[in-house]
Every structure is written in C-alpha cells, then in structure tokens.
Amino acid sequence: MMQVSSADREDALREAINIGMGAAGAALAEALGTFVRLSVPEVKEVPPGAVVDLLAARWAERQVNASYQAFYGEVSGEALAIFDDTAGRSVADLLGHDVNDQSSDEGRSADEILLELGNLMTGACVNGIVDRFNEPIHLAPPVLVCQAGDLRATLHPTPTTASRALVVCIDFAIDERQFATRVGIVISEASFATLDEAIDRFFADLLAS
C-alpha cells in the first residue's frame, strides 16, 4: 500500500467533506427551491470535552432547534443539524406550508419540517463524506434534542474513553430569508484508523486512473 503523507490525507479528507457539503447544499436548495450559500467547512481534531463548544460556536446567544442522529459502520459518529429558532417558519414559508393548519397532510408543524430537513442534510453530508471512501454507514433516525433552547445547555458530551474526536462544522445560509443552519459531524477516534486506510485506498485509485 502506498504511503500517503499526512498533508495529502488532510487534503483528501477536506475534499470529501466539501463533497458532503455540496450534496447537503444541493439537497437543501432542491427542497426549498432557492439558492443556498455554502461556507468553508471547519475541521478540527479536539479532545472530547471541547466538542460541544465547537459545535455550538456562534449559536451561543441564540434560541435554536437541533436534531441529532448517530451513524454506525466502519466509520461511526454523531451528527447534529442546528437551526435558528425562526428557521422553521422561514422554511414553511418557502415551502408554502401553513404550520398553523393541522387539518391537512401539508399542515406539518415547524418542528416536523426541521426534523425532515435535518435528516436530509445530515444524511447528505455524512454519506457524501463516507461514500467517497467506500465506507457504508447506517444512519439512525433523527431525534429533536433542542427546541427553541440554548444549545450549550442541551448538549452533553457522550461519555467516552477516547482522547480525540474529529469535528466538522458546515454552515449553510439563505441570505434573503435570514435563514442559517449548521451541520455538525463528530467522528469518533475509534474510526480514525479506518478513515486513514480508506483515504490511502482512495489515493491509490486516484493516481491509477
């Protein structure tokens, strides 16, 4: 197996994250019928105790809604979709739904809409990243973990013996709607070796093509 430098591994991982971001952005744009602004993903390896602060950065003073999904496979971890508290109504407005009308199938609540969107975006992000390296994963159903609340007060670090976690934060915005959302992905240290091997295989295939 070829030796891939750590710089090349980091480049390949960032490329995969960009591709996941692009898939999620496209999914959001198609769902809402509008243009979505993408930001450069933030990627950091941190001690488990720093994960919540990193995920919640820039959301600290805001009331937010957040959905949570764990994912399992050779690469495992957790994902969050964070929405500003006003996002549900912005999205409902874009979709032409009346969240106050529960009498029809389209009268979904704002929470239900955000849960669906969160599932769509975290699925696209996580699958976009791991597909790149041919590492299939299974995503658990999403759960709403924060409703119009303080994210830092809601999130608690998962008990772990790990010393590191890889945290990816990807921000999306619809400027004319003042709509902003973040997908946060935490990949467990137990998956690092698998990820490195997958990146090495990816490079071998890339250079052979």
Binding site: D11, A12, E15, N18, I19, M21, G22, A23, G25, A26, L28, A29, E30, F35, V36, R37, L38, S39, V40, F203, L206, L207, S209
Partner: protein, 106 residues
Amino acid sequence: MMLKKVLPPDLLADVVEAGGGEEALAICQREPIELMFLDLTMPERDGYAVLAELQRAGRVPPTFVVSADIQPGASDRVRDLGALAFLKKTPDRATIETALANAGLR
C-alpha cells in the same frame, strides 16, 4: 491540493496557487493567466464573487470552475459569469482532458 494530483503533467509546469478569493483576484490582476481552476467555496471572497469582479473588469481568464457546490443553477451561474466549464469535484484526469478539448485548449 487534490486537483494537482490529477492535472495533466504539461499543465503543472507553471502553477500559481491562491489561498482564497482575494489572493486569486490579486494574481489575476497582476499577471496574465492562461487557465484558472477556480473553487466556489473559499475564504474571503467566494468563487462567484471572484468571477463577478473579473467580469466587471473585463479580465476573466479561461476558467474551469471546480466545485462541490452542485446545487441547481450553480453551473449556469458560473457560465453566465464567464467560466468555460463547471467540473464537479473531484474530476479525474480524463474529465479534465475532455474539458480542455471542449474549450479548444487542446
């Protein structure tokens, strides 16, 4: 940079890399560029803003946008701003060669 791994060798002879949108603009304004591979999601100014600024100045070099931003309309937007092609990340060498041929650069 991943793209350099798959560029045809003859394109690697004289490569200048920009770390973000502002640097890309400065380079384009400073020296003639034969071919630019431009990402859309970048720090400082994004690729759309870079192309728009270059188009305003009448200085868009031959440009292939290479991006993971595949939302509806992205490809049309960059072509309207003067890009020759939109290549989805990460293009392989064959895709780049085809784009070069289609742009009359081969």
